[in-house]
Subunit: 141 residues, 2 copies
């Protein structure tokens, strides 16, 4: 049952996976915690008219992008968010952080190291404010 789980451990096509609104919604539904595939189907069908295979295919794409992880429990498939994909996105995005963010990064790294000793390894750190920015880009003028 259920094809062999031989994902390549890297995170290819992450942005492509996030390009679809249904897949983003799936991730949002998974944000609070683990969910069975069936529960995700039900939740989506309460919002949109979509079939079970469609959801399954979306979950496959998310899996291949390392954005979700699965483990079987009986006949159920329990999905959860996978940090690997999100980290890939965050790290790409970091390239566009303003220059002044760098020292802050260093501080964060330090703090994160301290926390890591408190057990909680290698988790993503992302924060953002949604308002449009003024002219404060790295390019200056």
């Amino acid at each position: 049952m259920f094809g062999a789980p031989d994902e390549p451990a890297t995170a290819p096509r992450v942005f492509e996976a996030l390009g679809d609104p249904v897949r983003r919604r799936l991730l949002e539904l998974l944000a609070p915690g683990e969910q069975a595939a069936g529960a995700l189907v039900t939740a989506l069908q309460a919002e949109t008219r979509i079939s079970q295979p469609a959801v399954s295919q979306h979950l496959r794409v998310l899996r291949e992008a390392c954005l979700v992880r699965v483990h079987a429990e009986g006949t159920r498939r329990l999905y959860r968010v996978d940090d690997a994909g999100l980290d890939a996105v965050a790290s790409w995005l970091a390239r566009f952080s303003d220059a002044f963010a760098q020292p802050l990064d260093a501080l964060e790294t330090e703090l994160a190291r301290g926390r890591r000793d408190r057990r909680r390894v290698d988790a993503a750190r992302v924060s953002g404010r949604a308002r449009a920015a003024g002219p404060g880009r790295a390019s200056g003028a």
Copy 2:
């Protein structure tokens, strides 16, 4: 020349825009600073076989997603990264930050406020580590 610049100031279809590798490359090319459209075409053509209109169309999508901003200088069109779109991405991504990140966010906000007084308003803060995470998600086990 050049259609009227009436973008809606919001950032729709940001993830869709980032879904294309050429558009991501364009943003990377713009990361160091402002670039003329022609320079971007030249840079891309040094890597891939692509036409000028194709690049122009990609730039249009990036514009509509608030991922780049333009201003005309003579007959040139100078493009730069627009924080609005990146902020939208970062803020969506923030939903998936681990719980322990919250206090850190507060610290950051405080630090950012201090910097804001030093002039440099409302810029995005994003940082991430690319390595795959251990079992540290919000969903616990």
